[in-house]
Structure formats: structure tokens, C-alpha cells
């Protein structure tokens, strides 16, 4: 769990600035389905709906924790919008799938002609990652869980701090882009049940 080492007044001032940036354009964000439900330092809870669907569902909450900001980036987790509890991996309403292009892996030692370019492969990658015993988290720069993970030790928060990567608007934009906007409808599962027989006519 994060601890506050920076002067709390500094983190609180930057927290308030984040909240103010949302409140300033709150009407615009509401139209997009973003609702700031709660802002008590160091935490902010934003609820995200999908207004492009009918009826419009409340898909998820996002909990930001600005403890020790901005010495450290905010923690970002998708949470149940009603209970505020982080979704477990099997409950996630979205994993924020993103399509990326990667180069095909070549066999070591292959003799390739000059100028040969490896084929590109398309893969769908979840931006929400989870590991046993941990809550799923948003795995992009600007997020505490990303920078704390040993696999990203070469991509320090200090490289991103001044770019606004840890800002709530920017992070909500990423979550909306990959998790909410792509939704086009509901998956429905129906169960059929035999309730009797159909009959063409009643005989005299």
C-alpha cells in the first residue's frame, strides 16, 4: 500500500487541481458518460457509462489514489461502481483490449535476403493486467502499478511525470477509448424451455 512521504499539502494541492480540471468541463464529460462520484483526498471515484447503448449501462467505476502524488503516479483500478470494490479478474466488465502490430519472430540463424522486412502480425492486447493474489490494474505509463512492476523498471515515472501522463483526464480518456467507446451492444444468453405443445385445431 502506498504511503505519503511528500508534504501532504503538496499532494493535496495537486489532487485538487485534478478534481478542478474535471469539474471545469463536467458537462462535456457527462455527455460522454463520465461522472465524478466522489473526491476525498487522496481518492477519486469516477463512474463510467456507455451512452451509445440503449439502455445506457453503468459499466464500471475507476478509483484513483493520489497518495504521494506526484512523487509517485496515481494508482488506477477498475472497481464495482456500486460497492467501490476492485473487480477481480473474472468479474472485469472490460479488459481494455487494444490492437497492436508486432513484427513476426524470425528463426535464429535464418539466411534472409538483403532488405528483407519481417511480416507484421496483428494482436489484441489487454491493457488491464492481473497477477495471482493482486487486483487487476491499468498497465500503462502514468499508473503507479505499471511503474512499480519490475517488468517496467526501464520506464520510470520520472520520464513521464512532466507530460501529464498521470492526469485523471488523460487516464479516463485511455479507459474510455479502449473499454467503453468500442461497446456496440449487449451479449444476451437465452435459455429455451418446453412449455407444452402447439396444436393446429381442436377436433370436433
Amino acid at each position: 500500500m502506498a504511503t505519503q512521504s511528500v508534504d501532504p499539502a503538496v499532494s493535496r494541492a495537486k489532487f485538487e487541481r485534478q478534481v478542478a480540471s474535471f469539474r471545469e468541463l463536467e458537462a462535456d464529460y457527462s455527455r460522454r458518460g463520465w461522472f465524478l462520484a466522489c473526491a476525498n483526498f487522496p481518492k477519486i471515484l469516477v463512474l463510467l457509462a456507455a451512452p451509445q447503448l440503449q439502455p445506457a449501462p453503468l459499466v464500471t467505476g475507476v478509483r484513483f489514489d493520489f497518495t504521494d502524488y506526484d512523487l509517485h503516479p496515481p494508482s488506477v483500478k477498475l472497481v464495482n461502481p456500486f460497492s467501490g470494490e476492485p473487480w477481480s479478474a473474472d468479474q472485469l466488465p472490460t479488459r481494455l483490449m487494444r490492437r497492436t502490430e508486432v513484427e513476426a519472430q524470425m528463426m535464429p540463424g535464418m539466411n534472409l535476403p538483403p532488405g528483407f522486412e519481417p511480416a507484421k502480425m496483428v494482436q489484441d492486447q489487454p491493457l488491464i493486467q492481473d497477477y495471482p493474489g493482486e487486483d487487476p490494474f491499468l498497465c500503462i505509463a502514468g499508473v503507479r502499478e505499471y511503474h512499480d512492476h519490475p517488468a517496467h523498471s526501464g520506464d520510470a515515472w520520472e520520464l513521464h511525470r512532466s507530460s501529464g501522463a498521470g492526469g485523471i483526464i488523460r487516464l479516463l480518456e485511455v479507459i474510455d477509448t479502449y473499454g467503453l467507446r468500442p461497446l456496440t451492444g449487449f451479449n444476451v444468453q437465452l435459455e429455451t424451455r418446453i412449455t407444452g405443445f402447439s396444436q393446429a385445431e381442436v377436433p370436433a
Binding site: 487494444r98 491493457l127 483526464i169 488523460r170
Partner: protein, 93 residues
């Protein structure tokens, strides 16, 4: 010289309010320019120097992603328009 809102060869001037990572700033551009031309000034005005312009993406008020390579006139913006500029997701997962 009177300003009729047009610059010779560049078309009508559009006043953009660009919200950069939640912070608004004003940028002026002409219809004959590419939309991406407003990005560097918006970043400069809001003190966002940590990432180059190509790492940012522009969206309209509905959240729709806009192609920065298109000319401003192709979007049929009104004289004053608000756009949102945010960092791309980048490497992740």
C-alpha cells in the same frame, strides 16, 4: 489592417479551445492548415513539453478521434470549437 478572419491562401481563421490533459488553452489556426498544426502550440501554452506532438491525439467533444493530417476545412468546424488533446496510451500491457 482590418481582420476579416481570413489570411490569403489559408482560409478562414478558426479559434480552437484545446483542452490538454484537462487544461484548456486557446489556439488560432486557418482552415488551410492541417489540424495537427495546433498541437505544438497547445502543448507549449500548457507547459506540456515532456512528450513530442506525435504522442498526442486530438478528439472532439464527443470523444471521436480526429485525423491530424486532414486539413482543418475538411472538418467543417464552426468559428469557435473545443477539442481535447491527450497523450496516447503508448506502450502498455
Amino acid at each position: 489592417m482590418a481582420d476579416d478572419g481570413k489570411s490569403k491562401g489559408k482560409g478562414k481563421q478558426i479559434d480552437f479551445t484545446v483542452v490538454v490533459n484537462g487544461e484548456p488553452t486557446t489556439v488560432k489556426a486557418h482552415e488551410g492548415e492541417r489540424l495537427s498544426a495546433i498541437i505544438p502550440e497547445a502543448l507549449r501554452e500548457t507547459g506540456n513539453s515532456g512528450q513530442p506532438p506525435e504522442n498526442w491525439e486530438l478528439r472532439d467533444e464527443d470523444g471521436k478521434l480526429l485525423d491530424g493530417e486532414q486539413l482543418i476545412e475538411s472538418f467543417n468546424f464552426p468559428k469557435r470549437v473545443r477539442l481535447f488533446l491527450n497523450l496516447k496510451a503508448g506502450v502498455g500491457g
